[in-house]
Symmetry: C2
Subunit: 457 residues, 2 copies
């Protein structure tokens, strides 16, 4: 099937971030440059960076953009013999002729042939189609270039008031970043609480914490447009009010960037993500996809989901690269684990929330416990709140949520591992988790919650 030129076949990677470059590196590791030519096309200037680190770049927790770059284009060229072309935008994919059309750094269109194609076009921020939404000073935070621009603007203009639209992970992390830069923050959220991937009762705890830090939070508030002057944003407009803003960040979530794939005729699922099998194969032979642009399976609901997260992109890219190189690997799906920290408040969730569980047809019970992160007498102990959801009758864990301070959030990994193994809360209550006063009370919070939920079922 491979058309070998000078004895080599060719892999084209569209998108030079986590998914794309993980795949490219893995493929290279297994097939040398005499066997497989690898061409990686990236629209922006950077490769393999931590998009999750952008809020910390803006907040100056991280001092320079270079720190967020795992491997620069030159590293891939030199150490991996991968032909990385930055500033190159792929505009079309012709699956019949097996060519990719692109506009290069020189502004000229040209085409390249591929034997294997990996689509790793990532996600794009949801932007409201509202008057003024294209004004200067309104930022999405998706690519490293976005982050660099945003930080430069904060540096140069020293804004006094920021408005963040959307109270999810990115929105909250950006709110923290502005606080750290001494900028006042209004956080506008359409839903009732921040962090919509938590149940409202847990989101409420995040709201309280965020307000305590000095963020002004406006729930149930929908943006209707932006007031601008000379092409620059002056205020965010909502149905009831006007929020003056020197700078605006849109944290309204992202959607899989699957337009190119759809136009090429590849199957795109109900989530907007490219449909792939566990080996990251698309609906067309020799065409692969990985990262934020694909949909995967949620192991608890069984439903397709598109979750933009670097850790999935890296794993999927690795799986794709191994398979492209003739190896065998499968991406096993996700359980929906996510974690963040805002000004010392740790927030984490995994599995299904109440609304998701209901949608998936589960009957369930929940329990919420407050517990100490360490033995009560040990310095640094603080209270955390842990909520578990389990299926009625079987007692199988369906999900868990955590809001707390230091040493609270990463406990979500125990829940994620339990979910992965379809444990019941009864089994969980017996687990042998690490106990010593600096790490846990004698009954670990996870055990306490599991035990209580077992009793409630």
């Amino acid at each position: 099937m491979e058309r070998r030129v000078n004895g080599r076949s060719r892999l084209i990677v569209v998108g030079g971030d986590a998914g794309g470059m993980s795949a490219a590196s893995q493929a290279r590791r297994r097939r040398g440059p005499d066997d497989l030519e690898i061409l990686a096309l990236e629209r922006g200037a950077h490769t393999s960076y931590s998009a999750c680190g952008i809020p910390y770049l803006v907040g100056k927790t991280v001092s320079s953009a270079d720190e967020l770059i795992a491997r620069a284009p030159d590293t891939f060229r030199r150490d991996y013999a991968i032909d990385v072309r930055t500033g190159t935008e792929v505009t079309a994919i012709d699956l019949e002729r097996r060519v990719v059309g692109m506009i290069g750094g020189d502004g000229m269109f040209h085409e390249e042939h591929f034997d294997h194609l990996l689509i790793a076009t990532g996600a794009v921020p949801r932007r409201p189609d509202l008057p003024g939404a294209d004004a200067q000073g309104i930022h999405g935070v998706q690519t490293l270039d976005d982050g660099i621009r945003l930080r430069a603007e904060v540096d140069e203009r020293s804004p006094r008031r920021a408005v963040v639209v959307g109270g999810g992970y990115i929105g909250l992390e950006m709110a923290e970043a502005f606080l750290e830069r001494g900028v006042e923050v209004d956080l506008i959220e359409a839903g009732p609480e921040p962090m919509g991937t938590l149940d409202p009762d847990m989101g409420r705890l995040v709201r309280d914490a965020v307000c305590e830090m000095g963020v002004r939070f406006f729930p149930g508030t929908r943006v209707t447009g932006f007031d601008t002057k000379d092409g620059r944003v002056r205020a965010v407009l909502t149905e009831d009010a006007e929020f003056p803003a020197d700078i605006v960040v849109l944290g309204m979530g992202v959607r899989p960037n699957s337009d190119l794939a759809r136009q090429a005729g590849l199957e795109v699922g109900p989530t907007g993500g490219i449909v792939v099998d566990p080996r990251m194969r698309t609906s067309v032979e020799g065409v692969w996809a990985a990262g934020d642009c694909v949909q995967t399976v949620h192991r608890i609901s069984g439903a397709p989901v598109a979750i933009a997260l670097g850790t999935h992109a890296n794993k999927q890219g690795r799986v794709a690269g191994i398979n492209i190189a003739g190896g065998y690997a499968r991406f096993p799906g996700v359980v929906g684990t996510a974690i963040t920290k805002i000004c010392g408040v740790e927030v984490a969730r995994t599995g299904l929330g109440e609304a998701e569980a209901r949608r998936a047809g589960f009957e369930f019970e929940t329990v919420t416990v407050r517990s100490s992160t360490r033995a009560g007498y040990y310095p640094g102990a603080s209270m955390m709140t842990l909520k578990l959801i389990a299926e009625r009758r079987t007692g199988r864990l369906l999900g868990g949520q955590i809001v707390g301070r230091e040493n609270a959030g990463k406990r979500v990994d125990v829940l994620a591992t339990a979910l992965w193994n379809e444990m019941t809360v009864e089994e969980m209550a017996g687990m042998d988790l690490g106990y010593a006063p600096p790490f846990s009370p004698v009954w670990d919070p996870v055990l306490v919650a599991a035990r209580k939920l077992e009793g409630a079922l």
Copy 2:
């Protein structure tokens, strides 16, 4: 089977700490005082305390012994209607006549009848049968009374030099406590490295850390006796050297305190622990045992083990109490999880070490990785070392060990949960663990290690 007096039957609990009082509380919760009389006999002055907190009491991280007490005798008497008798030593158990013989606070011997008997006599420190071992200034650290005495002695005598014999958990925690009290510490260990429940390569990392803190560590050193003057210890003697000491702590491990049970005719296993089934029943009807005095099953090796740890004692006590009260609960065994922190160094292990795996007949591969606890660019990131052991051919995880700094140790819970579910390292490498820069690099250390071990198998 129950001989009801005034309509009530009677439970006698021997030992008023974690295992005993958890059982008593659970039994009370399910059977009121009109139905079940509960008599709890405790040799010492305290009930339900955190023995694990004793080093922190001595080191003054914890200011008073009261903080270590979860529930005092009066609380049990008042709120649980449990007849707690402190200062009461049980000297004999007659299983034929179903009576317990004891010497009470008044120094008089008397007997009490039981319908149900729970033995929760805990563990006793191993004490070397060596010349001078009974001298003043030589301390075991097992009961809260031991801890209070030891702290008082440090307060009163302001020792300049301490010798700690045994480099396990207690030994290291006591070494830290002495350092915090400004006392010089020599740590004498018979084995090659401290923390003998780790493999020597991981123990070596602990040794390096401990030495860096200023502890003098002497491996391969066996105590031959104690030099005393006027009944008080002056030095610890070994084959090659003499270690001057103003105070000595023996941290040579503990053994199940099963003598009373053995004398009564109950079956005691090869570990020295009382043999119980998963419901915590001994070999004799109506006689139960829980806590450090019993043996349980190691879920990975399948072998009986006796592991003295508050978290097991609490769980076992709870299980015993539920069953005694006519409910149904089972203790599922352990996977050998343990964790500690010494001067900022976090050490944890679970499952089998190399030597244990070999003894259990496993063929295995190991991998050791060094990884960052957070994204490398995020403040507070530090390197941790993680070792995994997996069975050859099946790839099943057998054990894991961690040495690192802040945010390293509690990751052992993911390994413990994976062990509990008999996961292979291949399955583990795909898990959906929490990722955000403040919590983990994009490839969590657990995933990195699992992936590498998968490759090595």
